[in-house]
């Protein structure tokens, strides 16, 4: 159950795409949300991992370790708003949409995901019949007043990245491979099996693409409408689920809110 108050501002569909806009009320629940489950995804359980084992192992390869060590043990990582946006997107999708993100226990949470090629979001969604689908997605955070904001369009924009995720069969299968050791022997395994079967049965078409816009502006359907219509032309059973989230605080403040200091 989401602890914060959400209002659906708009909702529409075209072909294989749906898009919705929802705003979150500025209340204590939101603060609890952002400094609770969202923050958990951003911070390591232990205050700061030292990676001593890794660095000792690296020294055994005969390379110089100092520079790498300096980067990995550096203090004072300044949390970026888009990192918070990404974490929020994960939690919202989990709570609102029943998405499941197999937890990567090895992750160094000070390494931002969005800096890497691939997909921002990797997981499953459960379906009505108890089955599951592969879910992959992109998250963009923007304070841009334009509608849609600049991060939606253009090269490197959300729409383009989603289209790439949709068409790059090799990447999709790579993601399924990557999930394999993470689901093996866990509660996620039945979901994994189901998602792989659906994906292969459909010749690589049955999966869901999430596109999330994390905003601090007033809600407006124009943020997603044009893209939604364009992406909706994709062949079934591939489906797009776009959502824009309008938050009650300026983007720049999110890191402090997550840290519970704002």
């Amino acid at each position: 159950m989401t602890p914060c108050t959400i209002t659906e501002n708009y909702s529409d569909r075209s072909g294989q795409a749906t898009w919705t806009g929802g705003s979150i009320a500025a209340d204590p629940d939101f603060r609890a949300f952002i400094s609770g489950p969202v923050c958990e995804r951003l911070e390591d359980a232990e205050e700061s991992q030292t990676f001593a084992t890794e660095l000792a192992g690296l020294a055994g390869t005969g390379v110089a370790v100092e520079t790498v060590e300096a980067v990995l043990t550096a203090d004072g990582h300044e949390r970026q708003p888009w990192e918070v946006g990404e974490a929020m997107a994960e939690v919202l999708l989990a709570e609102q949409r029943g998405a499941i993100w197999p937890w990567n226990t090895e992750r160094d949470k000070r390494t931002p995901k969005a800096s890497l090629p691939g997909a921002d979001l990797i997981g499953f969604v459960t379906l009505d019949d108890g089955e599951a689908s592969l879910a992959i997605g992109e998250v963009k955070t923007s304070a841009d007043e334009d509608r849609p904001p600049g991060v939606v369009n253009g090269r490197g924009g959300m729409a383009h990245q989603l289209e790439r995720l949709e068409s790059d069969r090799a990447l999709q299968v790579t993601i399924l491979k990557w999930l394999r050791p993470r689901c093996n022997g866990t509660d996620y395994w039945p979901l994994y099996e189901s998602a792989v079967r659906r994906f292969l049965n459909s010749q690589g078409r049955d999966f869901i693409l999430f596109g999330l816009l994390m905003r601090d502006t007033t809600p407006h359907a124009l943020d997603l409408e044009a893209r939604g219509k364009a992406l909706g032309t994709v062949d079934a059973p591939t489906a797009y689920e776009l959502s824009a989230w309008y938050l009650p605080h300026p983007v720049a403040e999110w890191p402090q809110l997550a840290a519970g200091v704002a």
Partner: protein
């Protein structure tokens, strides 16, 4: 086979279609036929899906290795038709993965070949440090997988060392320049550095058998990969992590395949051998073994066991020789104190020579002396000296020869003369056991050895036997093993095709279409045929080719020439000549000849005469290989083909046995032997196994020329025949001789060569047992020694019982007979006794054996001897030929033999004796001459003379001086080698061509002094070209070069 859950989820139709499409593409590429572009998306999807299934199996702890291999094979076969990415680094990563798939599919040779076509990216100053690191690492791994000699493995060390050297300079900027992504970059570098170190560890292990002084290479690699994967996990490097998981599995497979792993902790000889095969100085160092070798040596424990009787039944080209080499070393080690020796048996002289060369080359660094004795069925003075050598340093430890010669040695008591035990018998091409008279002889030889040689163990090598266990059990029911593959492993892909000719538009025009067939073997098949672009190849017209399989075969070879050399198999020697002629004429002009081709051409002109057509055919890249050219010439032609210096080889099936040929295509003009008998499936697959072999072309093509629809039906059926189970010749013989068996009269069968062999086996056993009563009680045991008798008992118990009784009756007749003569002559007692009677009538005595006069013209004695030889059933059949239309008689045979021994040129002999029709083709007389001289006269007459010596010399040799006795003992060898002096025989034994042996011997002091074979060999090797010229004249250089080729050295 149950598909994995992931495979089951892939729509079957989609994958079938994709596989068909990919197969078609591969065949099309191999044939250089334009193929409609493949649907990369569909192929890519199915490929990815299989890769996912493989990944799942790799990540499952208790996966069946066969399952992993099967899934990898599927993914590999599809990935190889996909295009690599354009960008250099993604292309390298793609190929690393292709390499991993190839390794896991046990297709490392194919993978290495694919990777060799690619030049890894060399990053420069313009590239960011991350890219430079990746470039170095992928380059290192690509080299590790393909291992093109030491250069690749040395390069790995350099690449990683350079990386370390540049690290301090460039890494800092790279990590600072992108502060926002610095952590991600740092983690990626951590992963990559570990993978770099893993490459170093593995490269060191592959070359030295250890890494950093330790032998726990798997643990060392696992450590590096675990840390690399942890780093990937830290920053969710999805693609890198997945690739590294494949790479880790592949690295383990590289360890599995390493020759060091397979041979670890066996014995010091084996370790020394391995050190020598990976040595820097070696032409083609051997770092890894093939999957069948791995399976045989390690997984099936062949090296660790002391099983007495082992059959290795593996496909052609799976590297059985290496398996045999390890077994030989093991046997030598086992009986080192006794200085035991190993007999390596090969069916043909060419194979004996080839194996001697290979074993000698490989074992020389270990100080193991390898010798061969000639296939001549006699032991001349030189061979006797070689066998009884007592000098510790020169003792032969491996003796390479034919089964018949070993039979003669064993029955002649040579194991005792040698004074050291026979510890292992390696039988190459052991499927010959079921082939007619020779098969039975081999079977009985093995039975004799098994019965009489205390320490003897057995290793039988065969390409295709469904019931190999029958053989291994036969030789030792309590200690036997059978090595065969659990899976259909093939060294490389091949496609069996029908070659059809169709009329085309335009006068006389036609096209050739290749149809890939379904077969009993894993071959590439395609629904739609492949049309080859044609423009009346070889100038043929439709009317000329339409009914002629020979011409269709020649045209097909012509159209496939761009992909490499072809062998065109013809049913008969004259057809082979015809095909060679059409190929020669079709070329129009001469081609540029390599020095090797020039050498062979000059030698042919010298040996066979300037007008011998093959001389000019070679000038256009066309060779001929069959029993109608001399053995030396055949070896030289094989050498040219091996070097790919000729494009076409028109041959008969004489070429099929065991010689390692690099041919892209084999084209069968006929699927039958000369007398209309179908080529048995095992022989066909043996030939097919020669195409596109390890390290050679990508896809082997076997095409069967097909002139009409009826033939197509026959040929489709032909390639779908199953290899039959093992049947001893003895069973067939017994079934065909029911009457004689039931009447208890085996004597009357003695004129049949196979029965003669069987009766000799009985006589020999009788002689060994030495007591008629004891023989009577042991007779069943003696019979059971033969596999055929065991099979007969199972299938026809009554007939087997009858045979046992008949043998008892026969044995009674042997009492008191001088049976040593049976063993000495290789004749049945019946033949010995009849010949003894004739010898007296013919007036042959010890005095007849006069080296100075016997071969001088057709002496009376020689004529008489030839007359006697022609009366012996064992010899007669092989001498049943005609000379110039006249059936051969004693006088004629004496004349030809005398000319041959006197050193008369083959061309002259052909001209005088073998011209049948004045207007026949120019090569006809020479072809017949070679067939008769090399295939019949030389081996049979020398055997006959040797046997007659046994019957007539008595103790005369002991009365002679040692030198005279040696001369007399060498007389049969003069016929075998076609020279007229003892010293020339020695050189012939060492492989010197006949034309050079006599003059060279006269000028070689060591030959004149009758030095040992080993000494002579070393003297010969040291002789400079000028020495040869001084002895022979200007041709000396030519002969020296040819000799070096024949002996396996490369001039």
């Amino acid at each position: 086979m149950t598909p994995s859950w992931i495979e089951a989820a892939i729509p079957g139709d989609a994958s079938r279609e994709v596989v068909a499409e990919a197969t078609r593409t591969r065949i099309g590429e191999a044939l250089e036929v334009p193929i409609e572009t493949i649907d990369h998306d569909s192929v890519g999807f199915v490929q990815q899906a299989w890769e996912l299934a493989l990944f799942d199996a790799l990540e499952t702890s208790d996966s069946d290795p066969g399952e992993i291999r099967r899934l990898a094979e599927r993914a590999f076969q599809l990935v190889r038709v996909l295009d690599a990415p354009q960008e250099p680094l993604p292309a390298d990563r793609f190929l690393v993965k292709v390499g991993c798939l190839g390794l896991l599919a046990d297709r490392q040779a194919d993978a290495a070949r694919l990777l060799s076509k690619h030049t890894p990216y060399e990053a420069g100053a313009q590239d960011a440090w991350g890219e430079r690191t990746q470039a170095a690492i992928w380059s290192a791994w690509l080299r590790l997988i393909r291992k093109e000699g030491w250069a690749d493995l040395d390069a790995i060390g350099v690449l990683i060392a350079d990386l370390r050297a540049a690290q301090r300079e460039f890494e800092g900027d790279y990590l600072e320049a992108g502060a926002a992504v610095a952590r991600a970059r740092a983690w990626e570098l951590v992963a990559l550095y570990h993978v770099a170190h893993a490459a170093e560890i593995l490269a060191e292990f592959v070359t030295t058998g250890s890494s950093e002084g330790h032998f726990d290479v798997r643990q060392q690699l696992d450590g590096q990969f675990d840390r690399a994967l942890t780093a990937c996990g830290r920053s969710e490097l999805v693609e890198l992590e997945v690739l590294l998981r494949f790479l880790r599995a592949a690295a383990n497979r590289l360890v599995d395949n390493s020759i060091w792993t397979v041979t670890r902790a066996v014995n010091s000889r084996v370790t020394d051998f391995v050190r020598s095969v990976v040595d820097r100085g070696r032409h083609q160092p051997l770092f890894e073994v093939l999957p069948p070798q791995r399976q045989a040596l390690r997984e099936q424990g062949l090296l660790g066991s002391s099983t007495r009787s082992v059959v290795v039944s593996l496909p052609t080209s799976s590297g059985k020789t290496l398996i045999a080499q390890f077994r030989i070393l093991q046997a030598l080690n086992q009986f080192d104190r006794e200085q035991g020796w190993v007999a390596y048996l090969a069916p043909t002289r060419a194979l004996v020579n080839q194996m001697t060369r290979r074993l000698r080359e490989d074992f020389a660094p270990l100080g193991i002396s390898v010798e061969r004795v000639s296939p001549a069925l006699e032991v001349d003075g030189l061979e006797a000296a070689l066998l009884t050598e007592r000098d510790e340093d020169s003792l032969f430890r491996v003796l390479v020869t034919t089964p018949e010669k070993l039979d003669l040695l064993i029955r002649g008591g040579w194991e005792e003369e040698i004074g050291r035990p026979l510890t292992l018998v390696v039988v190459d091409e052991a499927h010959n056991l079921q082939q007619g008279d020779r098969g039975l002889r081999l079977e009985l030889l093995l039975a004799t050895i098994n019965r009489e040689c205390r320490f003897a163990q057995f290793l039988l090598l065969t390409p295709f036997l469904d019931d190999a266990e029958v053989l291994s059990q036969w030789l030792d029911p309590s200690s036997h093993d059978e090595v065969r593959l659990a899976v259909d492993w093939v060294p490389n892909d091949r496609s069996i095709m029908l070659s059809h000719a169709h009329a085309a538009d335009g006068r006389g025009a036609f096209s050739i279409e290749l149809e890939a067939l379904h077969t009993t073997h894993p071959t590439l098949y395609s629904r739609t045929p492949f049309g080859l672009e044609t423009d009346r190849p070889l100038g043929f017209s439709w009317s000329a080719v339409k009914d002629s399989p020979n011409k269709i075969a020649a045209a097909t070879a012509e159209l496939l020439k761009d992909r490499g050399s072809s062998i065109i198999l013809a049913q008969r020697t004259d057809y082979a000549w015809g095909i060679a002629r059409t190929l020669y004429e079709g070329q129009g002009t001469d081609v540029e000849m390599s020095p090797a081709v020039e050498l062979v051409r000059d030698f042919l002109a010298e040996e066979m005469g300037e007008t011998f057509p093959l001389v000019k055919y070679l000038e256009r890249g066309v060779g001929v290989h069959h029993s109608g050219i001399s053995e030396d010439c055949r070896v030289l032609i094989e050498w040219l083909l091996e070097k790919e210096d000729i494009t076409y080889l028109a041959a008969t099936t004489t070429i099929s046995q065991g010689v390692n040929f690099p041919v892209a295509s084999v084209i069968l003009a006929s699927h039958q032997y000369p007398y209309g008998e179908d080529i048995p499936p095992q022989d066909f697959w043996n030939v097919a196994g020669r195409t596109g072999r390890i390290g050679q072309g990508d896809l082997g093509i076997v095409a069967l020329a097909c002139a009409d629809d009826d033939r197509a039906v026959v040929l489709r059926d032909f390639v779908n025949r199953q290899v039959a189970g093992f049947d001893s010749t003895l069973v067939k013989m017994a079934l065909a001789a029911r009457d004689a068996i039931s009447e208890g009269d085996l004597s009357r069968l003695s004129y049949l060569p196979a029965w003669s062999g069987f009766l000799q086996y009985l006589a020999h056993s009788y002689r060994q047992i030495g007591d008629p009563n004891l023989f009577a009680t042991e007779v069943e045991q003696v019979l059971r020694g033969a596999l055929g008798y065991q099979q007969l008992r199972d299938r026809e118990p009554e007939l087997a019982e009858g045979l046992l009784d008949a043998v008892g009756v026969y044995a009674e007749g042997l009492a008191g007979k001088p049976l040593s003569l049976v063993d000495a002559t290789g004749f049945s007692w019946e033949s010995v006794s009849a010949t003894l009677a004739r010898v007296g009538e013919a007036g042959i005595s010890a005095d007849s054996w006069d080296g100075a006069t016997l071969f001088a013209g057709a002496s009376n004695d020689l004529r008489s001897l030839m007359g006697l030889i022609l009366e012996v059933p064992e010899l007669r059949e092989n001498l049943d030929f005609a000379l110039g239309g006249t059936k051969v008689n004693g006088a004629l045979l004496a004349q030809v033999t005398s000319d041959w021994v006197q050193g008369r040129q083959l061309a002259d002999i052909a001209e005088e004796y073998f011209v049948r029709k004045k207007k026949g083709p120019p090569e006809a007389a020479m072809t017949e001459c070679c067939k008769v001289i090399y295939g019949r006269l030389a081996p049979t007459v020398s055997w006959g003379l040797s046997a007659l010596q046994s019957l007539t010399l008595g103790d005369a040799l002991e009365q002679m001086s040692e030198a005279d006795a040696e001369t007399v003992r060498n007389l049969p060898s003069r016929v075998f080698y076609g020279v007229n002096s003892d010293s020339a025989i020695a050189l012939r034994l060492l492989g010197v061509p006949r034309g050079a042996a006599v003059p060279l011997a006269e000028n070689l002091p060591a030959a004149q002094r009758g030095e040992s074979v080993a000494r002579l060999r070393s003297d010969l090797t040291e002789m400079a070209e000028s020495d040869w010229k001084a002895a022979i004249g200007e041709k000396g250089g030519l002969y020296r070069s040819v000799w070096r080729v024949l002996e396996g050295e490369r001039p």
